[in-house]
């Protein structure tokens, strides 16, 4: 068996250390080693966005990042989105707007929407739909998702 790698990174603001095999993806390390199961495995080939995390400020598919690559980097997962004072406006708007059905795509959508609002606090509907094109909802609840994102943008102002 291949020797395990010792990786140290920052996850949701805290130092995290884990052991992984060289073949493990960041998604596998988050879920299986760090027990952060918010990021979901949907397609496992970079099409669906269910595994989205923010890596050093950039939205990425964690299934398309090798765990070994994140040594020294900063990772934000869905578990790091809420503050101690309560849910993030995106989480509130998704809940209040019922912008989820089965929920598998939701963590990825919220991370992607956060990346959108961090970059563009006043997105148009077109901006939001364009930015979220890499996230798939198999329940096809896109309208409610887009509405929740736009409402969260308003709520943040």
């Amino acid at each position: 068996m291949t020797k395990k790698l010792h990786i140290t990174c920052t996850v949701n603001g805290q130092t995290a250390e884990f052991l992984c095999e060289p073949r493990n993806s960041l998604l596998e390390a988050l879920r299986d080693e760090l027990k952060l199961t918010g990021a979901k495995e949907g397609c496992n080939n970079g099409n669906c966005g269910a595994c989205n995390v923010i890596l050093d400020g950039r939205l990425v598919n964690s299934c398309l990042v090798m765990a070994a690559e994140v040594d020294g980097l900063k990772v934000t997962t869905i578990e790091g989105i809420a503050s101690k004072d309560g849910l993030h406006p995106l989480q509130k708007c998704f809940l209040e707007g019922a912008a989820l059905q089965c929920g598998i795509c939701t963590p990825g959508f919220i991370l992607a929407a956060k990346a959108l609002l961090d970059k563009n606090p006043h997105p148009t509907e077109h901006d939001a739909r364009h930015f979220l094109a890499g996230n798939l909802c198999r329940c096809t609840g896109y309208d409610k998702i887009i509405r929740a994102v736009l409402e969260a943008a308003e709520a943040k102002q």
Binding site: T2, S25, L55, L59, L64, M66, A68, E69, G134
Partner: protein
């Protein structure tokens, strides 16, 4: 994924030595958006991924009066967020903005797009139109190859044992020049090109064309530079008949296959449409 080794060399010399030792059992990892999927799905059988992102040279991104240099591992997002590139090499922005979604653009590099050597790669035609040159590091030193000569078959490149792509270099920005990339897909986002066209034009003070390059994707086993189509524009005022002639020459050079994305006749038709439209955008940019 099968058991592999992860290597992260810090210098060009260490990387070429490692690659030379492993041969085709090792493959470069830059953004990983193609290679990780290929290894996971068993479409590429390798023993080692070589992460080159700790090597300074592959992360270089400079755009000034001397030209443009893009390291092989620079992700798409850093290219389209660069104001100097958007101003001087706007055609490049067309391509890097439509490769995958935001998540892919955070990681995917033009170097990876070229080395993956897909005939339908969205990044390659405009690299060719902009006269990009590839710097390749290898066990015997470095060599340079024009982008249009880099791919030799679907998934195959000129890279030999121990070699890897370090950077692209482009000539200095020109006044009254413009470039553009357009592709056809049957939806708005997130699809593989049925046909892609990357073009560049250079005008003189009287708006006559002094140079032009036309490159195509998804109509041949490799991305295609159609030199005669560009040459047909030189000396013209880039009027309708001139554009139509260039489009016809591009259609003649295309050797498309029929597949689920479109049949050969349809693709040949699209070449004519896209070449004319891309030229119109490039001309507009050259004049503004």
């Amino acid at each position: 994924m099968k058991d592999i080794t992860y290597a992260a060399p810090k210098t060009l010399a260490d990387a070429t030595a490692y690659l030379n030792d492993k041969g085709d059992r090792a493959r470069i990892l830059a953004g990983g958006t193609d290679i990780i999927v290929q290894v996971r799905e068993g479409r590429r059988d390798i023993d080692a991924l070589v992460d080159i992102k700790h090597i300074n040279e592959v992360n270089e991104l400079t755009c000034d009066a001397k030209g443009l240099t893009i390291g092989a591992a620079v992700p798409c997002c850093l290219i389209y967020e660069n104001q100097a590139i958007a101003k001087a090499y706007s055609g490049l922005i067309d391509a890097v903005s439509l490769i995958g979604g935001i998540q892919i653009q955070s990681r995917a590099s033009l170097g990876g797009n070229l080395c993956n050597a897909s005939p339908a790669a969205d990044g390659i035609p405009v690299l060719i139109a902009l006269e990009g040159v590839c710097d390749i590091a290898g066990p015997k030193g470095t060599r340079s190859v024009p982008v249009e000569q880099f791919c030799i078959a679907p998934g195959k490149t000129v890279l030999g044992r121990g070699e890897f792509l370090v950077r692209f270099r482009f000539p200095p920005p020109k006044k009254q020049a413009g470039a553009a990339y357009l592709r056809f897909i049957p939806r708005n986002e997130m699809d593989i090109a049925v046909v892609g066209a990357g073009v560049s034009v250079q005008l003189d003070a009287r708006a006559k064309c002094t140079a032009a390059r036309i490159a195509l994707a998804a109509v041949a086993p490799t991305p295609l530079l159609v030199a005669e189509a560009g040459a047909a524009l030189v000396g013209t005022a880039l009027d309708g008949p001139a554009l139509a002639k260039a489009a016809t020459l591009a259609q003649a050079a295309a050797k498309p296959i029929s597949d689920m994305r479109g049949n050969a006749d349809y693709r040949r038709h699209l070449v004519g449409v896209l070449v004319k439209r891309a030229l119109a955008v490039a001309i507009e940019r050259a004049k503004s």
